[in-house]
Homo-oligomer: 744 residues x 2
């Protein structure tokens, strides 16, 4: 028994507002329900009969149990109708009318009132503002959209926020020959939301794949949990509207770079869903995945076999754009192919057969059997004299096969149907086949990543002695933090605190520049418990945090005045940088609160003078810091998303990064491997891999730092945002040159 | 009469190698030709009859005129067969066999020999290595791919390099209900190439749209000319294979950034073709454009009307990603919509009707009639009780309408067919409809750009007095160039030549830093005629070129020795930069041949010492240059593409630009408006528009400089490459900080 059984598995249905007028939704609902084998009761204030069924003036007057009531009445009549349902002991109700929460304050108030009534009466609510749902196997078509009775039952579950998209997908599934398990549109989702339906499907053995069409996301964490449960058993393919929306609402850089689409995309992918960009791709991917998922694999290898080289080129092109590996075949399969094929054909992968001949099946078997190959894409025109795709492909190889073909439409339809019976998905364009194959590869990569994460979690949970595979920077052992001490509030009687000593981090981390900075003084204050460090953070305390996360920071000294700065200059390796340190100070270089390359006391005096002239930061302190070696710069951040909660962000650093919007996002916490993979998603990834003689990033160290930050932000509700920018890639490792922490 | 009439409009056809064995291509060719009304002659060495037709031992033995011979014989038999054709006076031959130029040197030699025979005999050759072509209206199916007889005649011409892609598209057109005018695969294109076919179609009144599927491009200029002729009359939609290929062959930065796909894409777009990324998009765009092109418009505005908001959101999303404008409606249409629609619906554009009602047609008419709107995309599910798309859309508005719908497949097919009769293209997914609409907008933008360019050309050709709209920097008036004078070859007896004076450019261009640099000396040598400046170019001469192109360069002095450098420092505005100047010197900063921020004679001495230590550049000169104000940096270049000839390249400057591969390309020469549009194609475009307080680029000045460079490179076959990098955007305008010219 699922929590939504009254809604999705009703024994008896009432249609409230069952109109005798055929143009009305209430009338159409009754027509849609005609095939339903259980009782269907029209409810109408006056009519004694609607569409051939006896009608009742209220649900209560039916006199028999009703599991599901479909409310096809206008907003003004909804409360009375729902109360009638409550009194009659109805288990679930669908509200089809629009004009509620989506239409303004008045509608929202009404929706809230309806929800109260439903909750008190333990009625599960679908909608408002939805056309409904359908379950073809149960012959249950609880929707006012006509023409759905012919949609065949099958393994595909369609879950859409929009009723319109739900029906679009259900009809498209019909056209593609995919049977439907459930197709549901949630509308405003006052009560029943996407995760509720996904949880119901997770326990449903008849569901073979789920396609998910989202608009907004209310509770990202619940959504992720529900998808994770599902993907352990069946593939989930997701489409999220709003690609063009790069939400510019957040105040900080990090916030501005993480529009809701990007975050939702990251969340869906982390949860294990294959994310696509159109309704057609949703169904193409589902069709391929319903034929069989690949075993978990980080980068599955695809084989391409073609009867015509030209479409094969388009296919290979599309796979390459999608980032799918098409590995060269090894010596053994190539030797076999050389026996099977004309020497003028290309045989390394893609494998072109020239005009297909009798060896086609054997070629497919050879490529499919190669150890480099996890799945095949085959393209051939229908040429009955030269090729019989059904005979030549069915059972030819153990790996999944996606087929692309062209030919007279009736023949293509016939071959598609027959190959589906053999577990092979057929597409009428090479690019669609390629994208469907890419979905197989993406699904396998998600499963691989999940397995890797679960193994890391298990290792982390194991006793320390056994945890040889634990992350490089266990946060439990991280150094305590130094909170900001603004001069105005607490003039430092204690001597200036060198960051290196204050953080307690190993000396190597704070002295990446060659000669380690000597620890100068004792910490100015007892290290505070991390959770107590609410309130303003300045650069010094923020850097202490990032050092605790396992990132190096330049050796430096926070100084109260000019004299301390001179002392620091004398003890650090010149040239140094001089910065203002103040909790309200962001964008230092734009404010002129940063001077670089100071080598002499005279240059230091000039720099102190310049910084002292910044009017509104008179109570700031001075940070004297060694200069870091050159290298490309990253941005590492963490921020709270309204729907998904804490997230981490990796981007190319500097002003260009923002203009390019070149960032990767993960929901926090994230495992080291998944975090390390973020770098590869950047458009500028090449820049950080040793580009033109510049230092290359240590990808594992970066992943460990991101993972540590993600665990930290996930446990710190008092922190709104962390931004390490720039995080410089040097020959000596990553160095955080500036850092910012914003309290909630 | 077109040049390809013997091939494409034959009166009589021979099939050489007409095999009695049904699996053979030669047999299938005869079957395909069964519906052809003219004589079809099997040629076979022994058979007296093949597939029911009397056979002959040779073409010469037929005894009747033959226009077209289809050669279905293996490579070894081709020469004899073609000579037989030549003797018989055949006008055209198709060679179906593969294994020629694409298979290596031996095949290439045979192909060359075949071409010789064909040229001597004035035979036009199709192929080798193609399945052939079809002309449904003429019932001419000159292809060995079966099943093509049912492909309907109509307005769509399909021109593909690959025979396989040609048939893929022809069958897909059949499935989509698009009639075909011609569908041809060119194979190796030994003789008849894409431009030949396009030229034939340009004169064909029956052709309504052309889809073009390219792999490589042999003669880009001829291709562009052919497409330009066609697009003046009918739309051309192009797909180019090789998106994933970013050719890394060229030696220079600019070359490395312009893989062949990018250049071909630029050439196709400049020629007026709509460029798409899949075979499905090719046909979707063609179907929309066959219903009617928009009037030329730089940024046409689209209206969206929906019956269900959810699919409308996907539609709007896809249009936004494609960069299509969906303008807010004005007061008048909005007032009318307020009368027609429920107040809870969104009415500004997109216009959502809620569940469609009787006002749907009037809503479509209102949005279509709004002055902001050039075309409409309408989405609605098929709900017979609520909406009749045929009645509600046919003739409802004067602007083109693209329709997207969902419903029972047979009903969708019926509505699609009936709406096609009303000039409305229907798609079964909102995203496909959106992309098809984007193709309408792209076609209109291409036409607009062409009109703008033609107007600029006309203005430029007009007498100077009348040419008020002439480009800002007429190259005819540009300053002469200063060639490199390597010290070893010709020690400068003449005094150092300040670039400002040497170029003869207006003082304002060379002194963008505030105070103009005083012209110091007379030019060191007589200005040379530009065409004589072959041979090595150094930075000084390259900068003289860019100044002549209308770009500012920093005030600077080329110096032979330390003493001259000190004199220059005294006379320029400090701080200055010191650079080595040498024709063999590229990538100065990586070589350490560049020192910045030199303010004192002592700093200058240190810098000269450092540069003098660079071993292999002992004969270099020194350039002392004023420092430019800060700002974002561009890269401007020109290079020669093997297929398209001279091209210009604009990219984001610096090392990050290369890692990001963020460049825009145009075939040279290019008009100012088209050149100015390149900036908007950069992923980092935002960075150059006044991002976060940085200077914004003067887009017209940039376009003028690109256009000037493009005209110059187009007339300078002795120059292989020009690279201005960085080209800095400052508050005082564009300044070229470094420049490189490479001779061919």
């Amino acid at each position: 028994m699922g929590a939504l059984d009254a809604l999705l598995r009703p024994r008896a249905v009432a249609v409230v507002g069952a109109s005798p007028s055929p143009a009305k939704a209430g009338h159409q609902l009754l027509l849609s329900l005609a095939p339903f084998p259980g009782p269907v009761h029209p409810v109408h204030p006056r009519a004694s009969e609607v569409a051939g069924r006896p009608a009742h003036p209220s649900v209560g007057a039916i006199g028999e149990p009703v599991d599901l009531a479909l409310l096809a009445v206008p907003p003004a009549a909804l409360l009375a109708a729902l109360r009638d349902c409550a009194e009659a002991g109805v288990g679930a109700a669908a509200i089809h009318a629009g004009g509620l929460a989506e239409a303004g304050a008045e509608g929202a108030a009404l929706q809230a009132e309806l929800l109260d009534v439903a909750r008190s009466a333990e009625i599960r609510l679908l909608g408002p503002n939805t056309s409904g749902f359908l379950d073809p196997a149960a012959r249950l078509h609880a929707t006012f959209v006509p023409g759905v009775a012919a949609i065949a039952p099958g393994p595909l579950a369609i879950v859409a926020q929009s009723g319109g998209v739900n029906h679009q997908l259900a009809f498209a599934a019909q056209a593609e020959g995919i049977g439907v398990r459930l197709a549901i549109g949630l509308g405003n989702a006052a009560d029943v939301d996407v995760p509720d339906v996904l949880d119901q499907l997770a326990d449903d053995a008849e569901t073979g794949a789920v396609v998910l069409a989202l608009e907004g996301v209310r509770d990202g964490r619940r959504l992720i949990a529900a998808i994770e449960r599902l993907t352990a058993r069946v593939p989930v393919i997701a489409l999220k509207a709003g690609r063009a929306d790069v939400g510019a609402f957040a105040q900080s850089h990090t916030g501005a770079l993480t529009g809701s689409y990007r975050v939702a995309h990251a969340g869906l992918a982390q949860a294990g869903a294959v994310v696509v960009q159109s309704t057609q791709e949703l169904l193409d991917a589902a069709r391929a995945l319903l034929c069989g998922r690949l075993a978990p694999r980080e980068h599955a290898g695809l084989g391409i076999v073609t009867g015509q080289a030209g479409p094969g080129l388009l296919l290979a092109d599309e796979l390459s754009v999608a980032g799918v590996r098409v590995p060269e075949l090894g010596a053994a399969p190539r030797a076999r192919l050389a026996e099977l094929l004309d020497p003028i054909t290309y045989q390394r992968n893609p494998v072109d057969t020239g005009r297909p001949g009798p060896s086609f099946r054997e070629v497919v078997a050879t490529v499919g059997g190669a150890e480099e190959i996890d799945a095949l894409v085959v393209h051939a025109l229908l040429e009955p004299g030269a090729l019989d795709p059904v005979a030549d492909l069915s059972g030819a190889t153990d790996v999944p096969v996606v087929f692309s073909t062209g030919g007279p439409p009736a023949q293509v339809a016939d071959v598609t149907r027959r190959l589906a019976g053999a577990g092979i998905a057929t597409f009428a364009s090479p690019e669609r086949a390629a994208r469907a194959a890419a979905a197989l590869v993406q699904d396998a990569a998600r499963a691989w990543r999940r397995r890797e994460r679960d193994a890391a979690d298990a290792a982390a949970a194991a006793p320390l002695a056994a945890a040889t595979g634990a992350p490089a920077v266990p946060l439990a052992a991280a150094a305590p933090l130094v909170p900001a001490r603004p001069l105005a509030a607490a003039p430092p009687a204690a001597p200036a605190a060198p960051l290196a000593a204050a953080t307690g981090a190993p000396a190597a981390l704070t002295a990446p520049l060659g000669a380690p900075a000597a620890p100068l003084d004792a910490p100015a204050a007892d290290p505070l418990d991390a959770t107590a460090a609410a309130g303003p953070w300045d650069e010094a305390s923020a850097k202490a945090l990032v050092a605790a996360l396992g990132l190096a920071v330049p050796a430096g000294v926070v100084c109260a005045d000019r004299a301390e700065a001179h002392a620091a200059l004398a003890r650090l390796r010149a040239p140094v940088a001089l910065k203002l340190v103040h909790p309200q100070l962001r964008h230092k270089s734009e404010r002129g609160a940063l001077r670089l390359g100071i080598a002499t006391p005279r240059e230091l005096d000039a720099a102190v003078d310049a910084l002292a002239a910044i009017d509104d930061l008179q109570d700031a302190r001075l940070l004297v810091e060694e200069m870091a070696p050159s290298g490309p710069e990253l941005l590492l951040g963490a921020v709270r998303d309204p729907a998904f909660g804490p997230i981490v962000v990796l981007g190319a650093g500097g002003v260009a990064a923002e203009a390019l919007d070149d960032v990767a996002v993960r929901i926090a916490p994230v495992a080291v491997g998944e975090a390390a993979a973020m770098l590869g998603e950047l458009a500028s990834a090449q820049l950080f891999g040793g580009f033109r003689g510049q230092p290359a990033v240590d990808v594992h160290a970066l992943g460990a730092a991101i993972a540590a930050l993600s665990r930290w932000i996930a446990e710190r509700p008092d922190v709104a945002e962390v931004e390490v920018n720039p995080l410089r890639v040097t020959a000596h490792g990553l160095i955080a040159l500036d850092a910012l922490v914003v309290a909630t």
